[in-house]
Amino acid sequence: MSSTHAGSHPKYLQHHFGTAVQQEESSKLGMWVFLLTEVLFFGGLFCAYAVFNAWYPETFVNAHKSLSWQLGAVNTIVLITSSVTIALAIRSMQLGRKKATFRLLLATVLLAAVFLVVKYFEYSHKIHLGQLPGNLYTYTGIEGTNPHIFFSVYFMLTGLHGVHVVAGIIAISWMMYRVSRDEFSAEYYTPIELTGLYWHLVDLVWIFLFPMLYLIG
């Protein structure tokens, strides 16, 4: 594909771009547009949350008390920290420090894993109590109309977010593999930067979810 212009251009430059700058700007714009679609994807669920919170305000206040705000807070700190480590990873690559980049990416993946472990304990506790979405809801201890809807919204929102965390782990691991193969340099690090942007969005969504689900009332 890139055989035509090989020689005078760096090897990461794809043939249909004129310059590395053009390629980098295109990649970044593409990522921002993709993140916009992600925001709207979550937007539907945020909207559903707003509607049912307005319909059943008491239920939502009562139901949120069954969530552990302590665990939510721990996860918030974990995710914010991981946003810092990935930002530092990008910075390291800009300075050409490949080993540091690799380690910081590894730290990010580990923090993401910690997030999922905490989530696992939260979920299994809920499943144990029968605080589940819709038809599966069997718990009797929450007062108010249709408490199962709160848990439907909770599981849909955190579940979709969790899927994004898993996707993030895969993406960051892929970046680690590429760093280890020496594909990046101080001149070319766009894929890591874009992965970082994605990871910040995952973090940001959680920063909205935490107060909405754990701290209302």
Partner: protein, 551 residues
């Protein structure tokens, strides 16, 4: 790329082999692959339509029972909307043309482009699976709560549509970045062909609206699997919320269908009027205007759903605004035709048909947007006729205009102009017989989606069904002459119609990387007042050089 001018192989010839097609990252080949796929689904959806109309020829049973009828109209709608119209112009023609028109070697993300085709095929397989596993009987809108309780294959169908959404988002994202970053030197925003403006506005809608449909379908699937109770009123959920979500996508989706069509019409009318397009900037801005307004009007689908009266009034009011940018476009096209030296080749005939049919579709849309009138016409054949005039009379006619206009560019072959004109007339007659009749049926109170009807409606239903057969015949002949064109030995030349946009600067069909030398903009897309150009098609017929005569 070979700079040897004696042997320039087209993208169709080089590289060779099935694998080179299936793994291609060339936007032109991907466009052709999309074209093949969507034409297949147009055929499937069209065949379903002919069967439906045949069943409705008389009120009693002719071909099928009521349940089968419900599945057939659902499949007709779902296939035509999600598998044909939405991807038709952007993914097939747009993919082929966008980089050529802006002088780029490819789209910004060629591999993502190929992925979008596979995602489309993957989603389409789910939809086809729904057909063989018993069909879907909800209507293409999948309204809750019926869609949460019916025993038909709603999950595989909605999953298919969910997957198709990603294909649409990938295409839109790719186009936005391509238009922003890959224009040739000298091509400023206001030197872009209007087709590109149409694709740009379309891409914005694809990117902003599709994710909302995606999450809605996820929720619907969850509703069926787990009974999450968000849309099911029996569980405390809100079925009207489904409608809000659904139309937040699906109303803008109507403009995903029509905006690139309007782009085609701008190109065709300028080329075949041989005249600088009137009001370039208003046409460009009105594309963005339509895209913007499209997000504000979804509630007009829900006038009778039980949403608040004040909401209905606001949506009615906002709906009228779509008429402004649409009117701007139509008046500018008419003004371009005025004193142009119009040549009535097949693409132009379809463009004029578009103008006529789209105006009927548009005006009846304003009627339906009027709150009081809609309460009477809601869910009648009037609505069916309206959206067929907009989607088929609008988008499909524009698609056919584009297909005939760029056919020589895509394949280097010219179809039989005489047969093409005959078919255009058959399609026009068949279309109006089928759907104009339905305006009358609807105004008389015939509800849509009914398997049977009162005897008093039979003459109109019968006439409409005959129209559908005429229309079907027209499309069959079209398939024959288009396929026959591949055996045409005469070369068409780079620029058969005498167009000034940049896709005509390269050979027909284009070489592998679009242009042999990097293009630099020399003239605007419609500078017929400054540049004299005669199409090879007219030259071969010995026609007078229309442009030079005018200036």
């Amino acid at each position: 790329m070979s700079h040897d001018s004696t042997a320039v192989l087209s993208y169709l010839k080089e590289p060779k082999g099935l694998k080179s097609w299936l793994l291609t990252v060339d936007h032109k080949r991907i466009g052709i692959m999309y074209l093949t796929a969507i034409m297949f689904f147009f055929f499937v959806g069209g065949a379903l339509a002919v069967v439906l109309r045949t069943e409705l020829f008389r009120p009693e049973r002719i071909l099928m029972d009521a349940d089968t009828y419900n599945q057939f109209f659902t499949l007709h709608g779902a296939i035509m909307i999600f598998l044909f119209i939405i991807p038709s112009i952007p993914a097939a023609l747009g993919n082929f043309l966008l980089p050529l028109m802006i002088g780029a070697k490819d789209v910004a993300f060629p591999r993502l482009n190929l992925a979008s085709w596979y995602v489309y095929v993957f989603g389409a397989l789910f939809c086809l699976y729904s057909i063989v596993s018993g069909g879907v009987d909800t209507g293409w809108t999948f309204y809750a709560p019926y869609s949460t309780t019916t025993s038909t294959s709603v999950i595989s169908m909605t999953l298919g549509v969910f997957i198709l959404g990603f294909s649409s988002i990938f295409t839109g994202l790719n186009f936005i970045v391509t238009i922003h970053k890959l224009r040739m030197p000298g091509m400023t925003w206001f030197k872009m062909p209007l087709m590109v403006w149409g694709l740009y506005a379309t891409a914005i809608i694809q990117v902003l609206a599709t994710p909302v449909l995606a999450i809605t379908l996820v929720l619907l699937i969850m509703e069926r699997v787990l009974g999450i109770g968000i849309f099911d009123p029996a569980m405390g959920g809100d079925p009207v919320l489904f409608q809000h979500f659904f139309w937040f996508y699906s109303h803008p989706a109507v403009y995903i269908m029509i905006l690139p069509g309007m782009g085609i019409i701008s190109e065709v009318i300028a080329t075949f009027s041989h005249r600088k397009i009137f009001g370039y900037r208003p046409i460009a801005y009105s594309s963005l205007g339509i895209a913007f307004v499209s997000f504000l009007v979804w509630g007009h689908h829900m006038f009778t759903s039980g949403q608040s009266e004040i909401a209905a009034m606001i949506f009615s009011f906002l709906t009228f605004f779509v008429g402004i940018p649409s009117g701007i476009k139509v008046f500018n096209w008419v003004a371009t035709l005025y004193k142009g030296s119009v040549s009535l080749e097949t693409p132009m005939i379809y463009a004029l048909m578009f103008l006529f049919l789209f105006m009927i579709g548009g005006f009846t849309g304003i009627m339906l947007g009027a709150l009081a009138l809609d309460v009477h016409l809601h869910d009648t054949y009037f609505v069916v006729a309206h959206f067929h005039y907009v989607m088929m009379g609008g988008t499909v006619m524009a698609f056919l205009a584009g297909l005939h206009y760029w056919w020589p560019k895509m394949f280097g072959k010219m179809y039989s102009e005489a047969w093409a004109k005959i078919v255009a007339i058959i399609v026009f007659v068949g279309f109006n017989m089928t759907f104009f009749t339905q305006f009358i049926l609807g105004a008389k109170g015939m509800p849509r989606r009914y398997y049977t009807y009162l005897d008093q409606y039979q003459p109109l239903h019968g006439f409409s069904s005959v129209g559908a057969w005429v229309l079907g015949l027209g499309f069959l002949i079209m398939a024959i002459y288009l396929i026959a064109s591949f055996f045409n030995k005469r070369p068409v030349g780079a620029n058969p119609w005498g167009g000034l946009t940049y896709e005509w600067e390269t050979s027909s069909p284009p070489p592998q990387h679009n242009f042999l030398t990097d293009p630099v903009l020399a003239h605007g897309p419609y500078d017929y007042d400054k540049v004299s150009v005669v199409g090879e098609y007219y030259r071969s017929r010995g026609d007078k050089p229309t442009v030079a005569e005018k200036v």
